[in-house]
């Protein structure tokens, strides 16, 4: 078992190596010059060239790649061109809102999705099922930014319950900061609850048809116990995978939502970095997010070990 | 009811196929090995039917597929008509393919659901370069008639047929290339009892009509006794006993064969079995027992059984046994 964990870890490294390469390639073929942006509208070509040299943007692509990989391996993602600080620091500073946003929306999504999914699978074809499925499908069809805009318009602008944007000023309390996450988390959570609901329903349907559920019933236990103890625990295994996937989707959603709500998170950072041609930031963020995703998946694989006795790598 | 008498297979000819020391290992998790087939040898005479029986997981299917090189064997030889099939390059093997065919167990997954019957049979005809046009249409009709279907079934899709009919189509596909040798892998186990007999009769008929040589894989001992001239009994990848059906059934020499015959349920309430000779389960082929693989369940095992792998010995009349105690008189 230890050996297979090591195997998986190795596989993870291979995936990360590919990720690093993909990231580098994508970012470096991008047109647009960070030096020109930094120097402002009236900079001269010579100034720009000088800055490029200083930023290490010269040399062949291969050289740049070599330097980059060398840095990454040492945990050095480079220096943000625009922000003039190490990429790791820039990312760390923005991790909090993204982290909480992801967690909250995942929580909201799960709290809505699991019960609804379970019940609509159980009452398959009932009015409840039809309504729940339709609502879920509706939620999955709404662009999250659009929902965010509507929520902002209503709760923040009309009712004034929340700030429209930002993440509190300097020294804002944690509570104050988290207050800024209510609307974005709601927008994201609602949209992603749809996916989890549908998936929960599907895997419950699957499991409810399994033989051991029939066995459980034949033992004379209550339906509720059949559903929760015997069916749901089995359905949970594929649902775990989807939760991992949703976490990735949420980061995607966060990119747009953070922009709508002006949250100083990683997503926002990436979008502005794209506009600012801040290569190291884009690389670093893509790398960290992809790395997190790979890690989350690894974690989920490990969770399987706990939940599912059949899995022995 | 008048039964048609079918001529039994021509005996005592050179074997069409001679399997020698066939071994197949599959890789398993964590670098371990599944010993699916281990040093299996048997001959199949031209025009005869050889039955391959054994419990689930004993390597029957793998042996059959290895001979056709549908899985690449790990070792051994399969001398077919004087040529070792295992020594052929993939390209050379292509030209042998149509001489050896296979019929599968599951009548549902053995036909591509998206192809019409004509296309399924046509694919087989293509394989031997059959020309297109009217001749092909006639040939398809002929094949369908041969297996007891109607020529106008050619335009239908597999899901429009019952299990028995599908099995007939599978047989027609195998026969389309006019093979000399057919592996029939449990062709009737998935069928309803009332249809099994139809398919068995068809196989018997075809064999006679076309002079086919048949390797018939089965679970069901009574079917093998009925259909096969010779029988090979396998257990955990190895041959326990083989020989002419009559002899093996009448006087089994290996404890495993005896146990199998004793446990097979017979539709006769007056002959109820009183004791169960075999205890326990078939061990894992990943680490089979040392020595005789059967010893862990063998009612007659002695300490020596764990020491040596019993050689397959000839006990007369083509009857072979792999048991160190086969000469001892046993109660």
């Amino acid at each position: 078992m230890l050996r297979s964990i090591i195997n998986r870890l190795f596989g993870m490294l291979v995936v990360m190596a590919i990720v690093v390469t993909i990231v580098f390639v994508i970012v470096r073929v991008t047109p647009g010059d960070p030096a020109a942006v930094m120097l402002g509208p009236e900079a001269s070509a010579a100034d720009i060239a000088a800055l490029r040299t200083k930023l290490g943007l010269d040399g062949s692509i291969l050289e740049q790649f070599g330097r980059y990989v060398f840095g990454v391996v040492q945990g050095d993602f480079g220096q943000s061109i625009f922000l003039n600080q190490p990429v790791t620091q820039a990312l760390a500073q923005r991790a909090e809102p993204t982290f909480f946003l992801t967690i909250f929306s995942l929580l909201i999504a799960t709290i809505i999705a699991l019960p609804v999914g379970i019940l609509s699978a159980y009452w398959r074809g009932s009015i409840f099922d039809q309504v729940a499925t339709t609502v879920a499908m509706f939620a999955a069809s709404v662009p999250s930014f659009w929902l965010g805009l509507l929520l902002m318009q209503f709760f923040a602008v009309k009712l004034g319950w929340f700030d429209t944007s930002g993440y509190g000023g300097p020294g804002a309390s944690l509570g104050n900061r988290l207050n800024h996450l209510v609307l974005p988390a709601l927008a994201l959570g609602l949209v992603s609850s749809a996916l989890i609901t549908r998936f929960t329903r599907a895997s419950m349907l699957d499991v409810l048809n399994d033989d051991y559920v029939r066995t459980a019933r034949s033992k004379g236990m209550s339906e509720w116990r059949v559903v929760l103890k015997h069916a749901f625990k089995n359905a949970l295994i594929p649902i775990l995978t989807v939760l991992g996937l949703t976490a990735a989707l949420l980061i995607s959603g966060a990119v747009v939502t953070e922009t709508v709500f002006g949250l100083p998170g990683v997503g926002n950072l990436v979008v502005s970095a794209v506009l600012r041609r801040d290569y190291p930031i884009i690389q670093g963020a893509l790398l960290v997010i992809a790395g997190l995703y790979v890690l989350v998946n690894f974690g989920i694989d490990m969770l399987y070990l706990l939940v599912d006795p059949r899995v022995r790598y | 009811m008048s039964a048609e008498v079918l001529t039994p297979a021509i005996r005592d000819q050179e074997p069409l196929l001679s399997v020698q020391g066939l071994t197949k290992h599959f890789p398993a998790r964590n670098g371990r090995i599944v010993h699916a087939v281990e040093d299996v040898s048997f001959d199949v005479r031209r025009g005869s039917t050889v039955g391959l029986v054994g419990e689930s997981g004993s390597g029957k299917t793998t042996a059959g597929r290895s001979v056709l090189r549908l899985v690449e064997p790990t070792g051994g030889k399969a001398i077919f008509d004087g040529v070792d099939l295992f020594a052929l390059s993939p390209r050379e093997m292509r030209s042998y393919r149509q001489r050896l065919q296979i019929v599968f167990q599951d009548p549902f997954s053995s036909l591509n659901p998206r192809m019409r019957i004509a296309a399924i049979l046509g694919e087989a005809l293509d394989a031997r370069g059959f020309p297109r046009g009217k001749a092909r249409k006639d040939r398809i009709a002929e094949l369908l008639t041969l297996v007891g279907l109607s020529p106008d079934h050619a335009t239908r899709y597999p899901h429009e047929f019952s299990g028995g009919q599908r099995q007939r189509i599978g047989i027609a596909r195998a026969l389309a290339v006019e093979p000399e040798f057919v592996v029939a892998d449990e062709p009737v186990s998935a069928l309803d009892v009332s249809v099994q007999a139809q398919v068995l009769n068809l196989l018997g008929e075809l064999q006679k009509k076309l002079g086919l040589t048949l390797l018939f894989i089965a679970h069901d001992l009574s079917v093998v006794e009925y259909l096969c001239d010779e029988v090979v009994v396998m257990y955990l990848g190895r041959v326990m006993e083989r020989g002419p059906s009559k002899q093996v059934y009448a006087a089994p020499r290996h404890p495993y064969t005896k146990a199998l015959l004793a446990t097979a349920p017979v539709p006769d309430p007056t002959r109820r079995r009183t004791h169960v000779p075999l205890q326990g389960d078939i061990p894992s082929p990943i680490n089979p027992p040392s020595g005789c693989v059967f010893r862990t369940r063998c009612p007659e095992a002695v300490a020596a059984c764990a020491e040596i792998i019993p050689p397959v010995e000839h006990v007369g009349g083509g009857h072979h046994v792999a048991c160190i105690r086969h000469n001892e008189p046993i109660a």
Partner: protein, 488 residues
Amino acid sequence: QSKGGVIDVATIGEPPTLDPMASTADLVGIVTQHIYETLYTFDKDWGVTPLLAAEMPQISADGMTYTIPLRTGIKFHDGSDMNSADVVASLQRWMKVATRGKQAAETITAVEATDDNTVKITLNKPFAPLLSLLSLNNAAAIIIPSENANEDPMTKFVGTGPYLLKERKPDQFIQLARFDGYKSRDGESNGYGGARKQYLDEIRFVPVPDPNTRVEGAVSGQFAYVDSLPVESFEKISGGKTAPVLLKPFGWPVFVLNTKEGLNSDIKIRKAIQAALAPNDMLLAAFGSEDFFAVDGAMYPEGYKWHTEAGTEPYKPDGDTEAAAALLKEAGYDGSKPLRILTSRQYEFHYKMAQVAAEYLKAAGFQVQMDVVEWATLTKNRTDAGLWDIYITHSPFLPEPSLTGIMSDTSPGWWVSDKKHEVLGAFNAESDPAKRVALWAAVQQAVYDEVPAFKVGNFNALAAQAPNLKGVTPAPWPYFWNAYIESN
């Protein structure tokens, strides 16, 4: 007017740097002018007035030597005193690092300290814009401690301004706090000049890059001051918790033409473009209502001393499609080569003007190709003459006309001609302000004759301000010394 209070100011984004020498971006200037100070600055009439200098310089008769007396007792944020050595080091850094400094460096032969509190600048020819260059807050000639002057990029943000940098969280806020050691000039405040009062305890600049989010923020009253709002949200803001502030006029959108390569190297084509464009529709589409723009061909609007109508006849508010078509024909344009308009959506009004312009250009017979790219790409691509024929930008009305982009031979557009050099040279060499106004008319005439760029008109800027925030003077680069919270 009491001390105290903290304000949040929403800005259009995160400044790329807090080193105002290193950037000409308006945003950098807005934020850093609170931290650093220059020797001179502008009063409310855009006249140059001393800031860290004790008074206006003594200019030698030949206009080649500037002797600048410094104020004494000025402290840097790190507690050290400012002296002439710091000023010399800072100006030298400026000439090396800042684009405007480099421009000035061409005429500057020496910067030296004559004593502890006097600095002398020697030129190789008269150069009238020098004082304006020293006064501007972007690519600014800020004064920093000499020991920091060797740094590039700058890592210690130490200035003499009324507010010092307390904390910066990129993309979250830049927190400035009152500098207790600040020594204000005496007397009244006058524009950027005169006394600077430090009522507020803290000023926080919060980047809100999305204009709509800024609007929402303004409406919901989340910020004390919101900069750079889309003018069309005027009404919406009026209904909200902060009051709209219209800065009228703020600046001018401009279509810069590539005189170096491609279609627009032919002056006839440039003339055709000049005739084809219809500023009226372009501005209306871009700014929504006449309240927010003015159709005006003069390069400086009325109210500026530089205002003149000289040469503006070709500027036709509704365009002259026929004249343009005729010019095109004369130029022998066959429509096979597209006119490439390079623009971005960073500023939505650029893009809208481009869309309307494209329609008018097509009507005149042009084949038009719109290259809508990100601002970052635009700033890169515009430096490559092979990539574009027109690019769109805008500028505030700079206090010194010669600082305008097209006046530089090397800035994208690359307008170079004998006529230009003649009129601009005369303008730059003249140091008498009155005479310079007359000379400017000739420059404007040349711009209209040779069409290196097309000025679309004047536009207003919208900001929003909390009702209890007082003492903020509307300005293109808003500043918050002198501002205070009115307690009720």
